[in-house]
Symmetry: C2
Subunit: 322 residues, 2 copies
């Protein structure tokens, strides 16, 4: 029987749902967007998505050409295919989204959280091709992670493993949205970087071009721009952010001794500005036996289609007989 050449990837975000039809070589051969926001009725949402997918599925030769579908979504649970209590999506409680798409499309559907999907994408098409053990860290509004051990996603007993953004790195540290204090993401997310900038500006009188921006408007990308222009305070912010991240990675190495840490997201785009401090802190902190083993890589899928590719990689996980 001829192998089916495509999978569907869905990157489900709070604002938009981005669909792509993807081949084995990471080409997004067709795509379509459906609004997530405002779609309060989940049945209507799935129906509208399927209607939007119809023409692009026909474009590639019909549903018979589609091997499977993968979904990356906030609070997505791989084990049951449900989105569970996602605070930033229009639907409450547990939504059996994988099953709903599977029933309407007649193909197998897999669902996981967005950071796990990013890790799958990196393993299928990107910087982690061929790796059996690596840790993906997504530096966005929060800090997410997808952990691969022995070539498999670490999902844990409940499908929710890999929440490295909520490892506590500072006793009684910064207040986190999760209700606790000192989580990694309060320091090393884009939001955390902006917070560090505001603190430095408010509590020191160091000269920095960041003072030209209203305090409550400073974003991590302003810090990146200032640092790339040589601004000392901005560089100090990246240095400190990288130190916290590098020390955290040294602890993660004691757990799974990965071949690589792969960084994804806006902050990772700052390149050496953030990667060099991470590596320095890691080298200075990691247990001797792990020294000089892990590579520090930036995602090779960074770009508009990255999240769709990540989601689509889940589709390739589906075995032929299913």
């Amino acid at each position: 029987m001829e192998k089916k050449p495509y999978v569907i990837g869905l990157d489900l975000g709070g604002t938009n749902s981005e669909f792509g039809i993807v081949d084995k070589n990471a080409n997004i051969v067709a795509s379509v967007r459906v609004k997530t926001a405002g779609h309060g009725d989940i049945n209507q949402y799935v129906d509208d998505c399927v209607a939007a997918l119809k023409p692009i599925i026909e474009e590639v030769g019909g549903i018979g050409k589609i091997h499977a579908m993968g979904i990356g979504a906030p609070n997505g649970n791989y084990y049951n295919g449900c989105i569970e209590f996602a605070p930033n999506l229009p639907w409450k409680g547990k939504i059996p989204l994988a099953q709903m798409f599977a029933e309407r499309l007649g193909i197998p559907v897999r669902l996981t959280n967005d950071a796990n999907a990013a890790a799958m994408g990196e393993m299928q098409y990107g910087a982690a091709r061929g790796m059996q053990n690596f840790i993906m860290i997504t530096l966005g509004t929060g800090v997410g992670s997808g952990i691969v051990v022995n070539g498999q996603m670490v999902l844990g007993c409940d499908g929710m493993a890999g929440e490295l953004g909520h490892v506590i790195v500072e006793h009684n540290g910064r207040q986190c949205g999760c209700g606790r204090k000192g989580c990694l993401e309060t320091y090393c997310s884009a939001t955390g970087v902006a917070r560090t900038a505001r603190e430095l500006i408010e509590h020191t009188d160091k000269a920095t071009i960041l003072r030209d921006i209203p305090l409550d408007k400073i974003e991590s990308k302003d810090v990146a721009i200032a640092a790339s222009q040589g601004d000392a305070v901005a560089k100090e912010i990246f240095e400190e952010t990288g130190r916290i991240l590098g020390e955290a990675c040294a602890n993660f190495a004691a757990f799974s001794s990965p071949e690589a840490f792969v960084f994804f997201g806006g902050l990772a785009k700052a390149g050496d500005l953030i990667m060099d401090p991470i590596k320095r802190a890691y080298d200075a902190t990691v247990l001797r036996v792990f020294r000089d083993k892990a590579k520090f890589l930036v995602s090779e899928l960074d770009g508009a289609g990255a999240a769709v590719l990540g989601a689509s990689a889940l589709g390739w996980e589906v075995k032929d007989e299913e």
Copy 2:
């Protein structure tokens, strides 16, 4: 073909090498001990071990009845079957011990570090039977760990993963034997508990029966005895040790969301004295999504043969066709 009913387990310690012939039901049907210490020539050591094994192998019906052999050893690397640079063993550098036994005995031999062997034993015969995701924590002179994800040992890219005793829990904390500061094992090993006791006695004037023991002679089991007699300082020591361990476990949950944490070793024998503070700190610290999921268990293999059983469990990992 008849299944071979036995495996050999070797618990290789700095002082003694304990061999056991073990059946599927965790019965050690025969055993023998060889001195490790003083055996500076590795070839002579292995020859002497094989000579000592001969009679007990005959006792169970000959080598044809032995499925495989498993070895738990300090700094044991599963991937290459070598002991690598173990500071407390008589041999320097990399010792291909699995291969040496395999050649002499004519059966497959697997080797891993002692904490991983303990985890395998717990999964095969003990508290973690049937679990796909758990974390074994050994509280001895140091703190070791064996992590199981998706039913498999977490070995990492180099075979050395699972060093949770060397996760840094306190910035600029206590000096660790690994050369760094603030490692979990500086607080939560038997040695760490004794250190906490000495610090409290030296730096406070709190009344405690521990003052009757010469300061440099205090051991963790003295603290356990005092605590079980209601000594307030001793109870405070367990409370503090459990807090650090429970908070560390909360971070480990963010990694692999285990079904259980299984504790092994002298300190675990203190029972509720240590387990209650661990659970309290864990519940107070862990991310909401993981709350009330992980069980906290004490090894069911605690006892003289536990390490031999753990090592032997590796033998059952060997597939029939090998």
